[in-house]
C-alpha cells in the first residue's frame, strides 16, 4: 500500500473532512490567523464568513497547502496538509477568488489542462472532461475561447476545472464576488446541484451574508484572525433575537458591522476584489 493510500481514510469512516487545530499565521508583525480551531463534517456545506482582512483567505491557503501553518495542524480527510501536501491536493478542488480560467484557451482545453495536471488517465480523460463541462452546462460553449465567456460562465468553467479531479472537498474562495445577482443565483444553483449529486464537502468563503444564510449548513464568523462564532445560520440568528439577520449576528459577536470590517481589508484585498469584478465585467 502506498503512503497516500495509507493516509487517506476510507470514505464514510472519517469524522472530519477538515480539521484545523490551533492554526496560526503571521505576515511580519501582523497576525492574519490567530489560533483557529475548525471542524467540517464530510458532506457539509460550510461557510467561512468575514470581511476582507479577516483571515479567511490565509486559512484557505493553509488548508490548500499554499502556506505552511506557523502553529497548529490542518488535516483534510485525515491527511496532514503540511506533511503530505501532494496527497491533500489530490482530494481538493479549488476555485480561487480571482478569475483563473485562461482566456486564451477554449473551455474544453481549460478543463483538459486540469485533467492532465491531476493525472486523469488518458483513457478516461475525454469522458471526464466532457462530464465536468456537461455538469456545468458548458457543453455547447466548450469549443469557444474562454475569453468570450460571460462572468457566470467563467465561474462555471472554473467549477468544471475543479471537478475534473473528482475532489472530495471543494474549496471556493468568494465564488460569487463581482457577479450580477442573476449570475450569482446561477452559480449557486450549480454548486447546490453538485453537492446534492455527489455528496461533496464544500468549504466556501464569502462576505455575502445572505448567500451564506441560504446555502450553508454551518458557518464560522471570522474577524481579525479569530473565529468568533460557529453554528447553523438559523441557530445563530435564533440565539440573538427574532428576525435577526446574519449581519446582526456578526455585529453581535464582533462589535463591528461587516461594512466597517470591509474597510479594514488591505489594499491588496480590495484590489483583488476589484480586479475580479472588472474582469467579470
Amino acid at each position: 500500500m502506498t503512503a497516500g493510500a495509507a493516509e487517506l481514510a476510507p470514505e464514510g469512516t472519517t469524522t472530519y473532512a477538515v480539521r484545523c487545530l490551533d492554526l496560526s499565521y503571521r505576515f511580519g508583525t501582523h497576525t492574519a490567523v490567530d489560533h483557529v480551531d475548525l471542524d467540517i463534517a464530510p458532506g457539509e456545506m460550510f461557510g467561512l464568513l468575514g470581511p476582507n482582512g479577516a483571515g479567511k483567505t490565509t486559512t484557505i491557503r493553509m488548508l490548500t497547502t499554499l502556506l505552511k501553518p506557523m502553529t497548529g495542524t490542518v488535516r483534510v480527510f485525515g491527511i496532514d496538509a503540511a506533511a503530505r501536501p501532494m496527497q491533500v491536493r489530490r482530494v481538493i478542488g479549488y476555485v480561487p477568488q480571482m478569475l483563473s480560467a485562461d482566456a486564451n484557451l477554449t473551455g474544453l482545453e481549460n478543463v483538459e489542462l486540469f485533467a492532465r495536471l491531476f493525472d486523469v488517465p488518458r483513457k478516461t480523460r475525454a469522458s471526464r472532461v466532457a462530464g465536468a463541462l456537461g455538469a456545468m452546462g458548458l457543453t455547447e460553449a466548450a469549443g469557444r475561447l474562454a475569453g468570450t465567456y460571460s462572468g457566470g460562465m467563467i465561474r462555471r468553467l472554473e467549477l468544471a476545472q475543479a471537478l475534473v479531479n473528482a475532489p472530495r472537498l471543494l474549496v471556493l474562495d468568494e465564488p460569487t464576488v463581482g457577479l450580477d445577482p442573476i449570475a450569482r443565483g446561477d452559480v449557486w444553483e450549480y454548486i447546490a446541484k453538485l453537492r446534492a449529486d455527489h455528496q461533496m464537502t464544500v468549504l466556501m468563503t464569502t462576505h455575502y451574508m445572505d448567500e451564506a444564510d441560504a446555502y450553508c449548513d454551518r458557518v464560522s464568523l471570522m474577524h481579525r484572525g479569530t473565529i468568533r462564532a460557529t453554528g447553523r445560520p438559523a441557530d445563530l440568528r435564533a440565539g440573538l433575537f427574532d428576525g435577526a439577520t446574519l449581519d446582526d449576528v456578526f455585529r453581535h459577536y464582533t462589535g463591528d458591522t461587516l461594512d466597517k470590517g470591509q474597510e479594514e481589508g488591505g489594499i491588496r484585498d480590495v484590489r483583488r476584489a476589484r480586479r475580479t469584478a472588472r474582469r467579470l465585467g
Binding site: 502506498t2 503512503a3 497516500g4 493510500a5 487517506l8 470514505e11 464514510g12 491557503r61 490548500t64 497547502t65 499554499l66 502556506l67 501532494m86 496527497q87 491536493r89 489530490r90 482530494v91 481538493i92 479549488y94 476555485v95 480561487p96 477568488q97 480571482m98 478569475l99 483563473s100 485562461d102 486564451n104 484557451l105 477554449t106 482545453e109 489542462l113 486540469f114 492532465r116 495536471l117 491531476f118 493525472d119 478516461t124 469522458s127 471526464r128 466532457a130 462530464g131 465536468a132 456537461g134 455538469a135 456545468m136 475561447l145 476545472q161 471537478l163 479531479n165 473528482a166 475532489p167 472530495r168 453538485l194 449529486d197 455527489h198 455528496q199 461533496m200 480586479r275 474582469r279
Partner: protein, 281 residues
C-alpha cells in the same frame, strides 16, 4: 458512499490515485507536467498567431538591415566562405528566443495576479515541475519562432546545415537557452514581485546580455573586461553552439552544452525556490 463523475456512471468517480514518492514516479510526473505545459503553449499559439508574426519583425530587421549592411562593410573579418550574415543568423536566432523567454517572468506575475498560479500550485505538481514545465513551454514557443527566423535567414541566402542530427541538436540548444532565460526571468519575478518593476529590470538586462555575448561579433574583438563578462554570459554559449551546429563554425560543442544545461538546472532551482514568495504575495 460513492462519487459519480458529472454525466458519467458512478463507478468512474473513485478515490484519487495515491502518489508514490519514488524517483521514477517523480520523473514521470515531471515529464507529464512538461508535456502538459508545452501542450498549453502550442494550443495558445494555434489560437492566436499574431505574436508569432509580430515577433518576426525584429529579427527580420536585424538580418535584413544590420546584417546586410555589415556584410557589405566588411567591418568584422570573417573566415573564407562564411559571410557575416551567416555568422549573424544564429546570434539573431538566440536573441529572438531570449526576448521570448524574458517575457515569462512578466507572464508568471500576470498569472499570479489572475489567480492562475495559485490554482496551478494546488494541483499535485511540485514547484520544480511547474517551473520546468514553464521553462520548456518557453522553449517550444522559441522553437516555433526560430523556424520563422531560419526561414528568413535561408531566404537571404544563408547556407544552413541540412543535417537532421545537427538541426535536432540546434533545437535542443535553443530549448535549453530559452529555458534558462525563462527561469532567470521567473527568478527575477520572485524578487521584483511586481510587473512594472520586472519590466524595468527586464529591459535593463536584455540588451546588455545580448551585446555582451558573441551574437553580433566574435569575442576576440571585445576589450578584456567585456570578454570576461561574455565568458560568464550563457547567451554566448548558446550562440556558439547554434553557430557550430547551423553553419559549421568552430566551437567546443560539449562545453557549450554542459554550461547551458548546468545554467538551466541552476536557474530552475532558483526560480522554484522563489516561487512561493511570488505566489503568496
Amino acid at each position: 458512499m460513492t462519487y459519480a463523475a458529472p454525466g458519467a456512471p458512478p463507478a468512474a468517480w473513485v478515490d484519487p490515485p495515491a502518489v508514490r514518492d519514488n524517483p521514477v514516479a517523480a520523473l514521470r510526473r515531471l515529464a507529464s507536467r512538461i508535456v502538459t505545459l508545452c501542450w498549453v503553449e502550442l494550443r495558445k499559439i494555434r489560437h492566436d498567431r499574431t505574436e508569432l508574426y509580430t515577433r518576426a519583425i525584429q529579427p527580420a530587421l536585424w538580418l535584413l538591415i544590420y546584417g546586410e549592411v555589415f556584410t557589405r562593410l566588411h567591418a568584422i573579418p570573417m573566415p573564407k566562405g562564411i559571410s557575416y550574415l551567416a555568422y549573424l543568423s544564429p546570434g539573431i536566432l538566440a536573441q529572438s528566443a531570449l526576448f521570448i523567454a524574458i517575457f515569462y517572468g512578466i507572464q508568471i506575475i500576470w498569472e499570479r495576479d489572475a489567480g492562475v498560479l495559485t490554482k496551478l500550485m494546488v494541483t499535485p505538481t511540485p514547484r520544480s515541475a511547474l517551473i520546468t514545465g514553464k521553462a520548456f513551454a518557453a522553449g517550444v514557443r522559441s522553437l516555433v519562432q526560430g523556424v520563422v527566423v531560419l526561414i528568413i535567414a535561408a531566404l537571404l541566402g544563408v547556407a544552413l546545415t541540412t543535417n537532421p542530427l545537427k538541426l535536432i541538436g540546434a533545437m535542443v540548444i535553443l530549448v535549453l537557452g530559452s529555458a534558462f532565460f525563462a527561469c532567470l526571468s521567473m527568478s527575477i519575478a520572485g524578487i521584483a514581485l511586481a510587473r512594472d518593476r520586472l519590466m524595468g529590470i527586464g529591459q535593463a538586462i536584455t540588451m546588455p546580455l545580448f551585446f555582451s555575448s558573441s551574437a553580433l561579433y566574435p569575442t576576440r574583438y571585445m576589450p578584456g573586461w567585456l570578454q570576461a563578462i561574455s565568458k560568464a554570459n550563457p547567451l554566448t554559449y548558446e550562440v556558439e553552439a547554434l553557430r557550430g551546429l547551423l553553419i559549421g563554425w568552430p566551437t567546443t560543442l560539449w562545453l557549450d552544452t554542459v554550461v547551458l544545461a548546468g545554467a538551466t538546472v541552476a536557474s530552475i532551482t532558483c526560480a522554484a525556490l522563489l516561487l512561493p514568495r511570488l505566489a503568496n504575495r
